[in-house]
Symmetry: C2
Subunit: 215 residues, 2 copies
DNA sequence: CTTGGAATGAACGGAGCCGTTCACTAACCT
DNA sequence: AGGTTAGTGAACGGCTCCGTTCATTCCAAG
């Protein structure tokens, strides 16, 4: 009637399988990224990461002397290497594709964790992350935008001089701003508005008189 | 030889003058803003504010049941009411004036404290601040930009339809982004670049065909 | 002057987290 | 099989901060 002892032992507890080496590090990195998303860097704690990764604090401290080191390594290991520039044949479509890709990247787990760090980049406690954020996020974003503009220049669609740092900064700035102030995804409609209302006018603006050097 | 007891008592300790009512609240608000700037909201602590304001925690808790209430009141009390639109007679100069004013506001003590909160606006712990930030910072910024665009429309310089939410968001977005990623002040040169390379092209862009409604 | 309320500093028990240590044991290698 | 290394969970002493309480004292008002 009861089906034996096996049926009675339905309430079993999760058994922690010991991981070692790279498998453990991967679990720790995942826990670290989740912790960054949930609490930000300010309240990031080694103890919480160890608990989430189902390991001991000693295992963390054997590898990373501080939370700063752990976060640097977790982000470094997770951030994508480079962005592939699209090649649609039109500047508008390329820009839409880049923004789509950046927006998707920013809403990924790694992207959310990185945004948490970016949010704190002007605090001294996040000083160690400035280089990483520029090198692995902001500069690559600039680069892929510049690549699509260059392709447009080659097609005779745009003027390279229009793609100033200020114009290029608008893309990450707006993605971050909207992510902060309007919870939710940067939609395709948002992307179209940004491209049509801001970026294309900026990139296709007439060259200024020579005395008017831009910044 | 020793000049008497008075000379020996050179090592005196600061005497705390008791404040009461509004004067104490002012001191607490100032300490709260400084604490926001130094640590952000995540690590904002009532104990640190009490210590900085040279008062007891009980005095804080008599008035504010939580750090959230205190921060709401401190920001509310400190943020400026409205921004006066400039009237230079030219859209470009008006935009430069608005950006200058917004930039100055953002680097003030209250502005820095508000930016700390804005940085955390997408965390659930900052949910209570969303309304205040929109109402007292973001919406007024939009409004003053809209006011200068309207004046330009009246002068025949611009088309009101070009001043979409996306275009207007570029200003706070860029100020916040540059403040975060390029420590230091948003310079007048930066303001000119933003106006000439991004805002004017966007605001003076030709109206799109009617089917192309922007966001 | 007296009175009552508010301010100040100290203390409390508790929670969270730190960095470290340790006993036990799983995992790996020979 | 044995030996070694690394992982796990617990514990430690210490620190910060919480919300609360309390004794003392200041201060404004009557």
């Amino acid at each position: 009637m009861f089906g034996g002892e096996q049926g009675m032992r339905r309430t079993t507890y999760p058994v922690v399988v010991r991981r070692r080496g790279p498998a453990l590090e991967q679990a720790i990195f995942e826990a670290a990224l989740e912790q960054l998303i949930a609490t930000g860097y300010a309240r990031f704690s080694m103890e919480a990461v160890a608990a989430a990764a189902q390991t001991g604090k000693a295992s963390l401290y054997r590898r990373w002397g501080s939370k700063e080191q752990l976060v640097l390594d977790a982000l470094s290991a997770s951030l994508p290497r480079a962005l592939e520039p699209p090649d649609t044949g039109s500047l508008r479509a390329d820009l839409l594709a880049v923004i789509g890709a950046l927006s998707a990247a920013m809403t990924s787990r790694t992207g959310c964790a990185a945004r948490a760090v970016i949010s704190e980049l002007d605090h001294e406690r996040a000083a160690a992350f400035v280089g990483l954020i520029h090198k692995q996020i902001l500069d690559p974003a600039h680069l892929v935008l510049l690549q699509v503009v260059r392709a447009a220049v080659d097609r005779g669609e745009a003027d390279l001089e229009a793609a100033t740092p200020m114009v290029l900064d608008v893309v990450p700035a707006m993605l971050l701003y909207r992510g902060k102030t309007q919870q939710g995804r940067f939609t395709e409609e948002d992307a179209r508005a940004l491209v049509d209302q801001v970026l294309l006018p900026a990139l296709l603006r007439p060259a200024p008189p020579p005395e008017d050097g831009g910044g």
